[in-house]
Symmetry: C2
Subunit: 107 residues, 2 copies
């Protein structure tokens, strides 16, 4: 069975936010994004893919289109295809997000 523990998979680097792949198929991928305080994923756009972020730990500020919102653990956010989106950790504690993208742009 393909089973992973988030606690065992989370990984941080002082250099930049870390992406840890959990699952990868021709149809989708599922990653952990691990942000130390002050780190970010810059605003970018996927032309054909939807992304779901789920905040597992900490607080992050999402930019989706023209809107910004800071949300904590237990919240999910949708970044629809074609809409610019980014995430930053403005807090002073680590943040961990579960990220799901479909379809998988790497196939």
């Amino acid at each position: 069975m393909d089973i992973v523990s988030v606690v065992a998979s989370r990984r941080f680097s002082a250099e930049k936010m870390q992406k840890v792949n959990l699952f990868d198929t021709p149809r989708m991928f599922c990653d952990l994004y691990c942000f130390a305080p002050g780190q970010e994923q810059k605003v970018h756009t996927h032309p054909k893919e939807d992304k779901v972020y789920f905040v597992l730990e900490g607080h992050v500020t999402f930019r989706i289109g023209d809107e910004e919102r800071t949300v904590g653990a237990g919240h999910a956010v949708l970044a629809p295809m074609g809409v610019p989106h980014g995430v930053r950790n403005d807090s002073d504690v680590p943040a961990v997000l579960l990220v799901f993208m479909a379809p998988n742009p790497n196939y």
Copy 2:
């Protein structure tokens, strides 16, 4: 911004396990599955879709193919396309799962 709180969305019924849709696009969907003690999602197969389960709360027993595993909060499990899969809550406490599926079979 399309943002949802899991705590505010979770819902249980004595009748059967509850599916609460969080996001739905032509490319994927994201649901909460809420299992009272003793409830299950029977083993079934999606011919073309991958599913990721993430256990948010409680413990559940996954059947993926011929294998069974009981796992708790913080674990993710992949049910690949074409592989029979099911979930049951054999515990005496509620269980809540975040579920992603791609592509979206409803489109």
